[in-house]
């Protein structure tokens, strides 16, 4: 699983592994087999690498039926695969007649008919609307472990990573920035880009060392305590759900409310400098409104120092 912002080189990376793009340098190998080696002049063409490649729109052949699409890969009918993915009743249908989830299953069945050594998925939910996206992602979450194939999936959405992968690599500007579990990425992001990708608030601050950690003075005013020791200019990351809204008069950090939105029993509060995911009051009252000044509080261990 690779996550990265748009334009970070995710698609190029997958296409390079698939043999559709030629890198300038480096080496690609799988198991003991070398697919590409710039120095030794090895370059296996796409049709000689055994990959199951799913491009963003799945790349189903529009002129072929579902069964013929799957047959294209292995040059023989694969009713077993159609059945396994629950698409046997669609075998005579054409791609334009299918829903997003059905298309994904056909594309997976076709990729498996190739008997690939690795599965390459490019933004598998990129073209779907929010509701279909969730359903298709759940479906893939159930399917991927059963395939028992090494899978490289790229996405720009961190929530895809938490749902699908054990190990997540974050790629930026063509470079692998951090490889970790999604929990580790949330807990200790390597840099501001990784933190921002996970949805954390990233702010500039000046740290002053103190007893058990430091005090950070945020640019724009206000202070927070961190349990990490630091000195001088830093960046801090705090997740929206780690911030608590309090009475501004007794708080070392205040901010203006820009908007308040209810979302599945939680409150998404957008402040001038922060985004906060708060619990509504016990009586279900929102209690804050646009333009209010609120105080912010966070436990020192959640105020992460970057750099």
């Amino acid at each position: 699983m690779l996550v990265g912002p748009s334009g970070s080189g995710k698609t190029s990376l997958l296409r390079t592994v698939a043999g559709l793009e030629r890198p300038h340098a480096g080496r690609i190998s799988l198991g003991g087999e070398v697919w590409f080696d710039a120095r030794r002049g090895v370059r296996l063409s796409a049709e000689r690498r055994r990959v199951g490649y799913l491009p963003q729109d799945y790349g189903l052949f529009p002129h072929l039926t579902v069964a013929a699409n799957v047959r294209f890969a292995g040059r023989r009918d694969r009713p077993d695969l159609l059945e396994r993915f629950g698409i046997d009743h669609l075998s005579a249908a054409h791609p334009w007649q299918l829903s997003g989830g059905e298309r994904q299953r056909v594309a997976l069945a076709r990729a498996l008919a190739r008997e690939p050594q690795v599965l390459l998925l490019d933004e598998p939910f990129g073209a779907l609307d929010a509701i279909t996206r969730q359903r298709v992602r759940d479906e893939l979450t159930g399917l991927l472990p059963k395939l028992e194939l090494p899978t490289l999936l790229v996405t720009h959405a961190f929530e895809d990573a938490t749902a699908l992968a054990d190990r997540v690599g974050v790629i930026d500007n063509g470079r692998l920035v951090q490889v970790a579990t999604s929990a580790q990425l949330l807990d200790s992001p390597a840099n501001a880009m990784v933190a921002a990708l996970t949805g954390a608030n990233v702010l500039e601050a000046i740290a002053t060392p103190g007893a058990s950690g430091c005090t950070v003075r945020l640019s724009g005013g206000g202070e927070l305590r961190s349990s990490t020791t630091a000195d001088g200019p830093v960046q801090i990351a705090i997740h929206p759900w780690e911030i608590e809204l309090t009475d501004p008069s007794s708080s070392t950090l205040t901010d203006h409310v820009v908007s308040v939105r209810q979302d599945r029993g939680r409150l998404n509060v957008r402040l001038h400098r922060f985004s906060v995911d708060a619990a509504p009051g016990s009586d279900g009252q929102i209690g804050i409104a646009e333009g209010d000044v609120v105080g912010l509080r966070a436990v020192p261990s959640s105020v992460r120092i970057l750099r």
Partner: protein
Amino acid sequence: MTAAAGTGSQRSRDGARAWVPAAGRVALVISVALTIAVSMAFLMLPIVALITYQPLHDLISGLGSQVAVDAIEVSVKTNAIAFVLMIAFGTPFAYVLARRRFPGRSVVITLLELPLVMPPAVAGLGLLVAFGTLGLLGHTLSALGIDLAFTQAAVVMAIVFVASPFYLRGAIAAFEAVDQTLIDVAGTLGAGPVRRMLRVATPLAAGGLGAAAAVAFARGIGEFGATILFAGSFQGTTQTLPLAVYSLFDANLDQAIAIGVLLIAVSAAILLISKLLASSWQTSSKLTSPWRGGRSSFAPR
């Protein structure tokens, strides 16, 4: 209208002023309608005149004459061979030109289109001095005992020379319109270059290829200038239908016109086919991207 707002003595003058642009609009509509009517009449009248020149049974008996029968045979045979050659060589060539980016690509495409704008008579001259007995290659060929000029093979060559650029141009556009991702995916599914072209690119470009082939075929059927210079006009061997029209023009105008009507019918049929193919191509290129115009994800199964 300013006329409506005018008061007293101004009213009549303003009314006249408003009337002038209104008259101008009427005059414009009339002149546009006239232009269309005159143009249509000019373009259609010769066709109508040919068709109504003689009664139907004279027309049919004109087509039964030996000259006409021979010309039909020569035209069908040479055009069929030229068409097969054009499709067989032109399709892979167009595919490579559409898919590969190489230095000098646009120069190659421009050069291929040159016969498109070249006067056919010049094309015939060119073929003659290239492949004729005294020509550039003809010298070598005649040493080998091959004489191309004024043979049926020369007719085929003339047709291929003037008609294939029409096919190549249309076929390149048709292949360029195919989504590259699908061809890439075919590669990752184990399809080599030939299978990618035959099983993915060609079916997806089929409508555009068919329309281009129809246009090229029509051009080949009507070919005159290059053929008469390079192949001559010998009844039964090199005299195609347009050449027969020309040679019958002095001798038997009724028969010439009968052949003319036949050629109009063939052209009309080809035009209709190419229009149908082009519209089916537009539909199929919509299908190339499964996310456009497709069924909604929420639609019931």
